[in-house]
Subunit: 270 residues, 2 copies
């Protein structure tokens, strides 16, 4: 593991950083393969968009690229990038002249059962309901207690992901992933206008489907719609794509769309 | 300023602390006057309650008391205490054997215009609407982006506080305070079952009102109810109590309940 804070090797940040005090910041999780960050340009664009939503000054792309260039000792790994509003006085008001803190770190790829990719996963429904906050919806910000509480609902290692509903009962995504379904040849994914994180891999799947002229819907999805689907999958930048083969009492056969999407996602579309 | 991390002087914490990664922790802000922390037992009880809500192991009271004993160089100040779930591997799942991080810090009392106490304040309505999340409501946790965004809505130093509505249009509190109104001899404060922070000072006001056999309502309060009230005040442990004298187009004369509550709050009820 290697951590850089504002470009310098360090494993600590100021206690008074607003990232800690208030979760006042955003982050990204990316995959490095063969010494190269996958989809870097898409990830930086999303980081910059998320910063803009919070009126945070996003550090220049070249600064992160210089950080990543320091990770040369790693052939493969998971890179996490964070931007916080920096050191702050006490109080919620963002400082007029905030200097963001830039954090870049790399760690080994987590060990994941290869069957999750080749066969698929078992998932569960989470009890926690996501709140509706349009001002924060879609952003990968540092206020992630809902994800923590949802992920704490189960310890069974055989369950790879939990699906989350919002307060209205619509399915929004997994605790760490976006969800897609295929039904009657239509690809659908939840509308994230009110909650959830709109990930880069979700955007890549949508772009690919558009390229192939698939029918796509960004819409409200009920639990029933998920259970009635021909194929259900979860995606993120680290795991890629996993088909859900078991969810509550429902089982699915191996689908044909997941491998197709996987082949695309394993490439780099920057 | 003095900062202790797990009892030792330090101004930094691990980048991998879950307090930073996810806002996975809670905090308290207390006032030290004449070398003594006001309402310490109430504050610790609230800290422990908040930890329990997040299944966080709250450090023993005596550990915080030892921290505070190190702040002997300060006669008066603002003490901030934090508990996070500690260092974590990547991923939302709380570690099975989490070791919480304990942070105690003291800084000088902020300079506040004394007229806010003696005369009262001007307040405004915030645009941001608080989301409903019963699992987190009432807790002073580290996911405070809603407060940050709400407080960022104005820069005018003449406006001392902003009042927040929830998604249903009910008034919940200030960006950094709880709100009370007095109308026709009844003291009311918002129900915080769905959002907001249930502060120690709010609890003290409610306890005092009960002691005096006042009529008290913990209820839904509309903007109209606030504007129609005889007296409106905001409270927290650092500011004490401020009467709102101006809010949008509405002005109030000096009230009689605010000074009564202030006299009580300036004492120590532990």
């Amino acid at each position: 593991m290697m951590i850089l804070v504002d470009g310098y090797a360090a494993d600590k940040i100021a206690v008074t950083d607003r990232g800690l005090s208030y979760g006042d910041g955003v982050f990204r999780t990316l995959r490095m393969v063969a010494g190269r960050v996958q989809n870097w340009h898409l990830h930086y664009a999303k980081l910059a968009d998320d910063c803009a939503r919070l009126a945070l000054a996003c550090p220049d792309k070249t600064l992160f690229e210089q950080d990543i260039a320091q990770f040369t000792g790693h052939h493969a790994g998971v890179i996490k990038l964070m931007v916080t509003r920096g050191d702050g006085l006490r109080g919620y008001a963002p400082p007029a002249m905030a200097t963001p803190t830039r954090i870049s770190m790399i760690s080994a790829l987590p060990h994941v059962d290869p069957a999750r990719l080749s066969v698929g996963i078992s998932a569960r429904w989470c009890q926690l309901r996501l709140a509706h906050q349009p001002r924060l919806a879609g952003i990968k910000h540092l206020n992630r207690l809902e994800n923590v509480l949802a992920r704490a609902e189960w310890q069974d290692a055989a369950i790879a992901e939990g699906l989350l509903l919002d307060v209205a009962g619509n399915v929004i995504g997994g605790t760490m992933s976006n969800v897609f379904i295929v039904n009657n040849g239509v690809l659908s994914t939840p509308d994230l206008a009110l909650c959830g994180i709109a990930g880069v891999t979700r955007a890549r799947v949508l772009a690919y489907a558009k390229q192939l002229n698939w029918q796509v819907r960004i819409t409200q999805l009920s639990q029933e719609a998920i259970l009635a689907a021909d194929e259900v999958m979860v995606v993120n930048s680290v795991i890629g794509i996993w088909q859900i083969r078991t969810l509550a009492d429902k089982n699915w056969a191996a689908g044909s769309v997941t491998p197709l999407l996987r082949a695309y996602l394993e490439g780099d579309n920057d």
